[in-house]
Symmetry: C2
Subunit: 220 residues, 2 copies
């Protein structure tokens, strides 16, 4: 691609219109995962919120986190998580990005995004928070801790994995999940959704061994 490179300074970012800045800066981190956070209040009112900030924190113990902005739509999620100490993480697939996106509308706390957005509640034994039946991967999470990030005025919510529900055909013999097979969606910025195609699988990188693409090698 023949390109003109441009520099955008910090000052130019500060002087942008709010919408332009939101779109641009939200795109800078690259491709983001698309997940729905499922919660329930003590009054058993369910809530669902699309979140593009779920992040891997550790595998032993299995810990995931996600960011919340205190003033944004997921405030119902925040309150529910504090009430029940539970939440679910549900991966968004390409065939329901419209319903998933709609959960970001400012529904009243008396309304459930499941019903309003056309998604199906799924409950698992001994777990209060609802999962999304349509999601290829559903993770039952226990709330563990949170951190207030000063500079961005956001909260990192940290939870431990209690159980995972997923199609067994999507997991290979070494534990790797095939995101193309599951038709997983991902997000850039605030409102653009992408699908993914596998291009490369490399071995654990070792000094002196330049990575060979195992997908191309095996002709898969």
């Amino acid at each position: 691609m023949s390109v003109n490179l441009k520099e955008i300074s910090r000052q130019e970012i500060e002087e942008m219109s709010k919408i332009y800045r939101l779109n641009l800066v939200n795109s800078l981190s690259g491709i983001k995962p698309a997940n729905l956070i499922g919660t329930i209040s003590n009054e058993r009112k369910t809530n669902l919120a699309i979140i593009s900030s779920v992040i891997h924190l550790s595998s032993s113990p299995a810990v995931l986190g996600f960011m919340l902005r205190p003033t944004s739509v997921p405030r119902h999620s925040y309150r529910n998580i504090h009430e029940t100490k539970e939440f679910s993480i549900n991966m968004v697939a390409d065939n329901f990005t419209d319903k998933a996106h709609y959960t970001s509308a400012k529904f009243d706390s008396s309304e459930s995004e499941f019903e309003k957005c056309g998604l199906t509640e799924q409950f698992y034994k001994d777990f209060k928070a609802p999962c999304v039946k349509e999601s290829p991967i559903k993770i039952l999470m226990k709330y563990e801790e949170e951190y207030h990030i000063q500079l961005s005025n956001t909260i990192l919510m940290v939870g431990s994995v209690q159980a995972v529900h997923l199609p067994d055909v999507a997991v290979d013999e070494s534990g790797i999940i095939d995101m193309e097979k599951l038709e997983v969606a991902c997000i850039s910025g605030l409102n653009t959704y992408y699908k993914v195609n596998k291009t490369a699988s490399y071995p654990y990188a070792r000094v002196g061994q330049f990575p060979e693409n195992e997908i191309k090698n095996t002709g898969i």
Copy 2:
């Protein structure tokens, strides 16, 4: 897809072999961005580390973060960031995932991943940390703060955006960056790379207006 759903319990995760657990749990958060963190020491030795945990924190101020594990390869990055208070975030494109992946090999701190992995240092005026010339988006970052996440024993590094370098054709009139046009790569798990194709763009979600896909509507 006809599927058999399986449940994996917390106990089963704990009892997995280390490699299987690493692969599985690192896949659970979904699709992750592929970025290279560029740093330099006070002795002007450059370092480059692939990181799949860059996360958007806020747009005003423009703040991004990423996770580091104190004991992992990017310890050189951590030391350099503390020495210079600067780092760069460089988006990985589909045509150099092999070189990007190779930066995760345990090179000695006296060796630069730029040279060893075949990537090109690019320096910008008034900024010490190196960028990756091959990257479609280069972000100059100032180190601001960090948080030690207890449960996962990881560190959230937080920085503010000082400048962005990118091709102007990739940014539309509303500030949205086209990741397909830039042929951006993303990661799942530890070693699988994907390319992305745009499937949907929805308007800001409002109650009562189910999202219409603007890509399909306009026939793009």
